[in-house]
Amino acid sequence: MDGLIGDNAAAGAVAAARRSEAARADEPVTGDGEARMTSPKLLVENVSRVFPSVHGGHPIRALEPTSLAVGGNDFITILGPSGCGKSTLLRIVAGLDRPSAGRVLLDGREVRGPGPDRGMVFQSYTLFPWLTVAQNIEFGLKEKGMGEAERRAIVSAYIDKVGLRGFENHWPKQLSGGMQQRTAIARALANDPEILLLDEPFGALDNQTRSLMQELLLGIWEREQKTVLFVTHDIEEAIFLASRVVVMSARPGRVKADIRVNLPHPRHYTVKTSPEFSELKARLTEEIRAEAVLAATEH
């Protein structure tokens, strides 16, 4: 079972990234291409977030200095109880929130604000209600100034990928929650981002829909190979989707464990009943339980 688990993977990757960065600084011309090959896609370096005090209360330390290295085409799930700062971490990567200290590097460039290279799917339904399904998917492409024929081809392809053929001209209001989130995923992916960020995107869906959505997302990832950062508090979801599960601890949030999931691809939902899956689930349940107990007693 040891092969499944690699607690220190993150620390190792961070160190490796630092080394390669140093190498790049030494020989900027020749070393660049090679360094990019070995350096991680996304590097979170000692990022922390403190929310300033409100009305004389104590400042809230939402996120302790956290480091994380994400390789290209990795599917990372960040698992933790509510209030552990996992959404804050994701928002910092997206550029929607600023770290109090530390920095985030995407392909070696520091993240300073939100941008189309980091597509995001939110837990709340964030389709633009005044645009149809197709127009929503097209939103980012239009922003890029892409021509209409090209836009239409991409939109059409993603309509098929998320199974919404026949609903192109529906308003978001007319769709179920699952269909809205499928559209949101298509909208983010159509932009062809370097990394896809998902913040509990299936949290508001019922169990059956949620399972189907997991399979759909995993299927897309298996075919398209994207770097994905997926925040969830659902243990099964975290294991089923991930190539690596990062467990975060409760207040203040920090990375507690980093566990590789070596279940084979393509993954079928039946993998959830396999002994390997159960073993991981048992282990993660223990990790999370301790945190949840801690979080509960704090209040």
């Binding site: 709340s124 939103f139 983010a188």
Partner: protein, 258 residues
């Protein structure tokens, strides 16, 4: 049938709505034709109808109606052209809001009718003065309400647009404006209703045409039938413009009604 929030069908809704008009006119007819109220103070419905007919046919009241509508629409359109962009800017950019909001909040409470004497001094008793009254009465209201609507845009939609590559001006153009367009249309519909009260007040003082002018003239003649007819005409125009606005919104913002 009388349970709280229980919906009602189209047919009964229409019938009930018309029924109250009938009850209202019946009570009016009973009070006046029955001799309970002096004719000097309140004309009966039949006299009102007769006076109204003579106003329209013999006295060219149609022209007065036209002039009043033109004043309301003219002043209101000018106010909207200034106020809507300003309101959007205030809602979107907090420094602009901080700069203008206190003054606009203050100016909103200045009664447009109190400006009439001053406006007559400045602009005479011509059309400019009438348009200015309506402009002053509408512009601050629209600015504030639009600013509040735009400022209250769902944050998550704005954030989503940033992650899709929007810059700051794009967010205003592609998110803040379309997201609030129905709300802005609703604000305009509301303020247009208020503009109608300003125009009549403006016409009561120093005017030689318009519905308000006819009303004040009729007062001198004790022609209460004409006054009531004038008031009813204003109500009908309000009803029609409301209906047009709603029909327009339904066409412009189908996503709201889907």
């Amino acid at each position: 049938m009388f349970r709280p929030l229980e919906p009602i069908g189209q047919g009964p809704r229409l019938a009930l709505g018309i029924a109250f008009f009938i009850v209202f006119v019946a009570a009016w007819a009973f009070a006046t034709l029955g001799g309970f109220v002096s004719r000097t103070f309140l004309a009966d419905p039949l006299t009102m109808a007769r006076d109204g007919w003579s106003l329209l046919v013999d006295q060219g009241f149609i022209l007065d109606i036209g002039v009043t509508i033109w004043r309301v629409v003219g002043g209101f359109v000018l106010a909207a052209l200034v106020a809507v962009p300003l309101g959007i800017l205030m809602g979107a950019y907090k420094p602009i809001e901080a700069f203008l909001e206190p003054f606009v909040s203050f100016a909103r409470y200045l009664p447009a009718s109190a400006f009439i004497p001053l406006l007559i001094l400045w602009a005479g008793i011509g059309e400019t003065q009438k348009l200015l009254v309506i402009f002053i009465g509408s512009v601050f209201q629209i600015v504030l309400m639009v600013a509040v609507a735009v400022g209250g845009t769902r944050r998550d939609l704005v954030e989503a647009s940033y992650t899709l590559g929007c810059g700051d001006t794009s967010v205003v153009r592609r998110v803040l404006i379309p997201a609030n367009a129905p709300e802005i249309a609703e604000i305009l519909r509301l303020v247009l209703g208020w503009a109608w009260t300003y125009v009549i007040v403006a016409e009561l003082i120093g005017s030689s045409s318009g519905i308000g002018h006819m009303i004040i003239d009729s007062q001198a003649l004790l022609a209460t039938g004409q006054i009531i007819f004038g008031i009813i005409v204003i109500g009908l125009i309000g009803l029609v413009s409301d209906f047009l606005f709603k029909a327009g919104n339904r066409r412009l913002f189908p996503w709201r009604f889907a």
